[in-house]
């Protein structure tokens, strides 16, 4: 079969032009890839490819610049919101987005994200919550579920010693600088469509200078969950969503 459209055919799905098409380095079934694509798609559909500046972070998504083909700068671990603040203040009419994992955003970078949101910076942060430090080998994250085994919580996360998972979308929604905060998932087609809507809303918040916009993606990490891709994908729907309900927690976007 051909990889090119034949007569009478049209391409019903192709990579957005904002994506480089490079093969990803992610593990099989990792949701980072889906999320990358959705972002690229929404950039393209909003005509933002040429004004976008991506602020990468440190985590499994560290190579985001290999896949999303826009100007990019790499932030130190956890500091993407501060770097994005600098970029936006330097170039207020560019579209500035950051992409961070849960270790990056909710552990080491907790202060930066909260203060960036509170200042109401006109930037968009994509938060990929896979409940573990993926890149470094599956250690406990601030979003790790109670009882979840990780390489640094071998007996499962313990409420008494480790505390409970952080609900970042809700926390950020409680700050006055936040224009939009929601939690989405990409484990089903329905959720993917919902996620795309959320992305567009967030992008709009920034383009209209309404303040900080934030989307949390629940994301599967089959490798560190020690599951098959299919199990992990299902786990998102059955287990993650219980602690981390999908929804819009703040929306002041006109």
């Amino acid at each position: 079969m051909s990889s090119q459209p034949q007569a009478e055919e049209r391409v019903a799905f192709a990579l957005p032009l904002t994506m480089s098409g490079a093969s990803t380095h992610f593990c099989p079934g990792c949701h980072h890839g889906i999320i990358h694509r959705l972002m690229g798609e929404c950039l393209e559909q909003n005509g933002l490819g040429e004004s976008a500046i991506c602020v990468g972070s440190v985590g499994c998504s560290v190579f985001i610049y290999n896949y999303i083909d826009v100007d990019a700068v790499e932030a130190p671990h956890g500091r993407a919101p501060a770097v994005a603040t600098g970029v936006k203040r330097a170039l207020p009419d560019r579209f500035v987005f950051g992409y961070q994992g849960d270790g990056d955003l909710a552990a080491i970078g907790f202060s930066e994200i909260m203060h960036c949101a509170n200042r109401g910076e006109d930037v968009t942060i994509i938060f990929v919550n896979n409940t573990v430090f993926g890149m470094t080998g599956g250690q406990m994250a601030p979003t790790t579920l109670l009882g979840q085994n990780t390489t640094t919580s071998p007996k499962g996360r313990d409420m008494d010693k480790d505390g409970a998972p952080l609900n970042m979308s809700e926390l950020i929604a409680s700050l006055d600088g936040t224009a939009y905060s929601s939690r989405v998932a990409v484990n089903t087609i329905k959720n993917i469509k919902q996620a795309k809507k959320a992305l567009k809303k967030a992008y709009r918040a920034q383009n209209q200078k309404q303040g900080f916009s934030f989307i949390e993606f629940l994301s599967a990490c089959p490798t560190n969950w020690k599951m098959t891709p299919l199990q992990a994908n299902e786990h998102v729907g059955t287990t993650l969503m219980q602690r981390f309900p999908l929804g819009v927690f703040r929306d002041t976007v006109e």
Partner: protein, 188 residues
Amino acid sequence: MGLYTDVIIAGFGGQGVLLVGNVLAYAAMKKGLQVTYMPVYGVEMRGGTANCTVVISEQEIGSPLVMYPQSLIIMNQPSLEKFQPRLREGGIQIVNTSIVPHSMLKSQTNGCVPLPANNMANELGNPKMANMVVLGAWVKATGVLDLEEIKEVLPLALGKSDKRIIEANHRAMQAGADGVGDLAHSGK
């Protein structure tokens, strides 16, 4: 200077090359020799290449890394490309020809032992034991350790003592060792 040998074991992540290195290191330690085991892996999560270097010596070991190894265990093509040129004159090279094309082996390499390790392991019931096949072959080909010493430490390195698994691994090693005699000569 006494006994000294080193080996680089290289392949895809998931082919069990680090385990082979560990087993060798355990066996050498058990035998009262000095030993270092040094893994090198890419940052890619999966599907990247992995290799490790084991140095075994009667003397205190200096570098745990080896630029020009005395022997190689090669499990895939990129590893062959990377390491074959560095093998010392007269060095021993065990190559998994289930994956590496025969044509790529340097004809001038003396101690080259091509072994269809995956196929052999498959025949023994589990293609994952290809690493044990090449391990057996290396032991036989180099003669630094003997198979019994390896077998002894296997449970330690595997962290498992399930008898059936152990025995299957023994068989795979044996097959590898047996393969050396025949192939080493017809080899190249």
